[in-house]
Symmetry: D2
Subunit: 363 residues, 4 copies
Amino acid sequence: MSHNSFGHLFRITTWGESHGPAIGAVVDGCPAGIPLSEEDLQPWLDMRRPGSSRHVTPRQEPDRVRILSGTFEDDRTGGSVTTGTPIGLMIENVDARSKDYGDIRDKWRPGHADYTYDMKYGVRDYRGGGRSSARETAMRVAAGGIARKVLGDGIAIRAALVQVGARAIDRSRWDWDQVNENPFFCPDAETAALWEADMDALRRDGSSTGAIVEVVVSGVPAGWGAPVYGKLDSDLAMAMMTINAVKGVEIGAGFGSAALRGEEAADEMRMSEDGPHFLSNHNGGVLGGISTGQDLVVRFAVKPTSSIRVPRRTLDRDFNETEIETRGRHDPCVGIRAVPVGEAMAALVLADHKLRHAGQSAF
Amino acid sequence: MSHNSFGHLFRITTWGESHGPAIGAVVDGCPAGIPLSEEDLQPWLDMRRPGSSRHVTPRQEPDRVRILSGTFEDDRTGGSVTTGTPIGLMIENVDARSKDYGDIRDKWRPGHADYTYDMKYGVRDYRGGGRSSARETAMRVAAGGIARKVLGDGIAIRAALVQVGARAIDRSRWDWDQVNENPFFCPDAETAALWEADMDALRRDGSSTGAIVEVVVSGVPAGWGAPVYGKLDSDLAMAMMTINAVKGVEIGAGFGSAALRGEEAADEMRMSEDGPHFLSNHNGGVLGGISTGQDLVVRFAVKPTSSIRVPRRTLDRDFNETEIETRGRHDPCVGIRAVPVGEAMAALVLADHKLRHAGQSAF
Amino acid sequence: MSHNSFGHLFRITTWGESHGPAIGAVVDGCPAGIPLSEEDLQPWLDMRRPGSSRHVTPRQEPDRVRILSGTFEDDRTGGSVTTGTPIGLMIENVDARSKDYGDIRDKWRPGHADYTYDMKYGVRDYRGGGRSSARETAMRVAAGGIARKVLGDGIAIRAALVQVGARAIDRSRWDWDQVNENPFFCPDAETAALWEADMDALRRDGSSTGAIVEVVVSGVPAGWGAPVYGKLDSDLAMAMMTINAVKGVEIGAGFGSAALRGEEAADEMRMSEDGPHFLSNHNGGVLGGISTGQDLVVRFAVKPTSSIRVPRRTLDRDFNETEIETRGRHDPCVGIRAVPVGEAMAALVLADHKLRHAGQSAF
Amino acid sequence: MSHNSFGHLFRITTWGESHGPAIGAVVDGCPAGIPLSEEDLQPWLDMRRPGSSRHVTPRQEPDRVRILSGTFEDDRTGGSVTTGTPIGLMIENVDARSKDYGDIRDKWRPGHADYTYDMKYGVRDYRGGGRSSARETAMRVAAGGIARKVLGDGIAIRAALVQVGARAIDRSRWDWDQVNENPFFCPDAETAALWEADMDALRRDGSSTGAIVEVVVSGVPAGWGAPVYGKLDSDLAMAMMTINAVKGVEIGAGFGSAALRGEEAADEMRMSEDGPHFLSNHNGGVLGGISTGQDLVVRFAVKPTSSIRVPRRTLDRDFNETEIETRGRHDPCVGIRAVPVGEAMAALVLADHKLRHAGQSAF
């Protein structure tokens, strides 16, 4: 057991605080012989990076990831490949402005982990939220880039923002190509335009909003996952729930399943030239914890950024009643940056299950 | 790693198929000296048992749990207590009618794990669903009874059915005392009466419906849980998602968080004679993966029973197109029996986190 | 983590006390489609069983193992095969004479775990040693039988007793065929005859003796194991050390390595028609934690039976000084029965590493 | 499961190759509030460091460890303390001379992991042995320094070299104060003098020798450890066997137990003013996998350095027969540097078991 590790055979362990000297990860169990260099990981980090639009925090971190171990420039094969040993990753924190933390130091910010860390540990690195900062997710994204390599080109992991505040996309306009054309990872251009206005209003108010992210994975063969406590969907649920600010997760029809009848919910099967196929996907690509071969469909809800300018009632560390306004650099909608993180978590779960499936099939 | 185990320090491993000779569990890591006998566990099993109302399957299993190890009738202390060694639990399958499985043997039932098990393993105990049957949850309920003992009387774990089909309860009528007064674990007597009629209609149609369960845990102190990948809420999400037919899980405001603004979502704090308290509980008792001391609030969605009388299109094991109607004993709403199972999973997660917290605090 | 589990992908969890109603094990992660029935496991148990010669305890346990889950008599394949789900094993304790435990109940037997269990747990099932009894090893032997199936016929796991008391075998007379021809699993017939006399003398004295067991595994391909903390030899060392009464373990030249020079210890390589081979095997088939393709050679030392008739000074549970003589059924040399247990533990480690290797190689 | 992690509640994960840019470790599960700075760890690293005498490799690594996360200079408490979050450690490799690796690149060095890594992974960072280099043990020593802090001042972990080649110390001259007075960590000054001459002869011959290390831990209370597969001694055995070049491990009387009689081996108990005590310690402080409160005594055997100047027969990576002489910087007796590593591994095992014991006792 390890509180800061994720996965079993393909396993990451992350370390680092928001405003410490660096953050890092160890990726253990990666198969050998996979071409891998820092250039393979950087694009995923750039996708997540703060400062990439006016809707995310302007903190200017270049977020250059370094690979410190686990790959080797083999002079016989040319190119850098994984060696099967642990891959050490690190990003230096270059823009950690550590001067003045006044309020954060002494007051518990509502909606943040300040109070609970203090109750658990009695001490807390308050600078930028310390370990509870979403900065940790940069390492997930980097490690997710390695997981994608393990999964290979046949498996495509994509995510999109499908709701911001009360405004959801029109799914009939879903266009994956749109996702990279707007600052919201929104697959529906018309809705994206409305969100622009919504976000500007929120920013003026010093407020923030929640959102819903949808992750879709294509190309997973039938048979990955495992019964009972190693289910593909229970691992995906856990994975998404470990992302900062996530409050709910669902697979396929999800909470909508409650209102379905049995004949709607149970996806029927038919045969085609390409083999068995399903006539619907209410189960989101998983039955009994094992993949069906259909698209995996996972959605998760992200609560509004807790750091807002609106004054909030709280306590200080001496249990005195007080108020706090959070100033400084904060996304009005952390759900936006959760999109690449959701993709990365899906990649980590699937790489692990690919190896686990191979492990149990070894007879 | 173990596909059929759950938890870390307080850990269960279950085994058994629906129609095999028995099902069982091993509970490892239970502290020593806790009074425990079979009589302590039986009431929880009776609560979950099939056949307890006309709305659940009439399969008549007495479901008598036996404790085969890990307790000892100490002649010095009197009474049976846990010894710190693994607790072996077993329930014999006395009503497994193993005569005729024709259709289930050769056809993949839509919405069930038949197809995926065959794709993964190439072989499958089709009798009653084998390992993928909800019968396995009896062992969770038994083990959950032990977990409650570990948690002690100060922690109350309760669950209720809050939605069946499209019909949700009226939360203003919530009354915990009602939960044991109707066959639905429904906290709202008026809605329970409507569900009676809904269920009768479904049964006539040979159909089924989904549902939503809410679990509320009171008495958890602030400080349980752990950062990043060992979060209390990510473990709860995983736990609920391992329950058969569950398709979604949320904490506190859950998916509703998406539509909230920051000043609504971030629960404010004030001081009282009893110590710090929160003015709302949109975060469901968890911040940064660590308990706040408020009630833990977890909801999960259960899809409709896939075994219905309505004929469904599917394939047989030789990939021929065919139809299937599921006959026999089946709940029209498996969500009902998921209520005690949800309680049990919450108990298992919390007992584990109680021990984990004690472990990391040992300095 | 689990105190009563062993292995990662191929994982066993055992439960049960010496004089409780039964002992059992859950084998999780076993690949599907392996022919398996109770008849496959029984011979291994018979090999270990008490009562098989006058040199082991006359306790008459039939030790009939039952498979309660995880296999299925597939009407399409004929024969019973594993299904990939957890295999529940159980042996009922039929000869547990639970009448009189007087001394064992109240006094701590020197060399036994009585005192330490009481210090740890404050309560202890003293009947026959409870959980600390070597009876638990019956489940290892049964599970080891399944592990052998996973390994397949190409891998042969054999063990022998190579020293009893101060008398070691003459390795020049090593003959595997002799191992089943004497009650000591001794590969040297002449030494076996001397041990007969040694044992009779010990029995007359009411004393006991230690022993050394050697396990040899042939057919393991090069490449199993893993660097640093998942070494094949560190896992073998742990495995053997978990066997009751084991006080030392070594690989290849083992402790003798200390007195070697570098040019002796480092096994040289040459090429032959069959591929690479080594000119010696001081490393016991493992380099850097990974198998070389040579025979794996593991030895472990077993201390003398602590239950002897010679009176011993000890304390009672109220910390009063007293004496104890252990009467009843006890092997004068528990090392004999450790031979099949050592084989079983090697099988468990190797089956796990076979799956782990397949898991990490899945790219 | 993780091949490069060790421990459960107090858990380390190491990464890095001998000649990569850096090596590092993540220490997860450390309790919060423990004073900790880099200055606390450096002395342990200096003790292990190459270049500290003419008997160890002259590689000049300053081995400055950096703490990159998990501690915080709390302005309320003063001083740097652990925060309960993962502690990232790193040492830069400043003296990795990466110019010429000719022979090591293409030939498998006898006694090294070159062949097995190539068989497992198909690729290998050959520079200085890559991941299989003993350089990794620097991180164990650093992490062991943190483990000592968790254990507190009441527990003393000491180790000594008790045999080099065929020459063992005279235990009647054992003096812990001598250990730091000679370059061998030898507790017997007279034997240390003889080893000086032995080593000089070996160096002239271009050869090397094995050794035996003894670790003694005082102050562990009775009750740490756990039955069956989580035994304190099986974890210690595994721990020592993960150290490079270790081929055997024993507890208490160890292999000598084989020649003992029951009345010698089973340590008797008596009462004194200070509580229960044992009249001998053949069991090395562990009974049934649980500590007795006596000194823990663990010995392990280290094989001779495989890198020697004497020419050795081997194969190249194309399976051609060839010879190799290893030149460059190498200790003639790697057992010397294994002394602080053995201490560190004992500290890691005990810190983990301290937390595990607290975890299971939390009722």
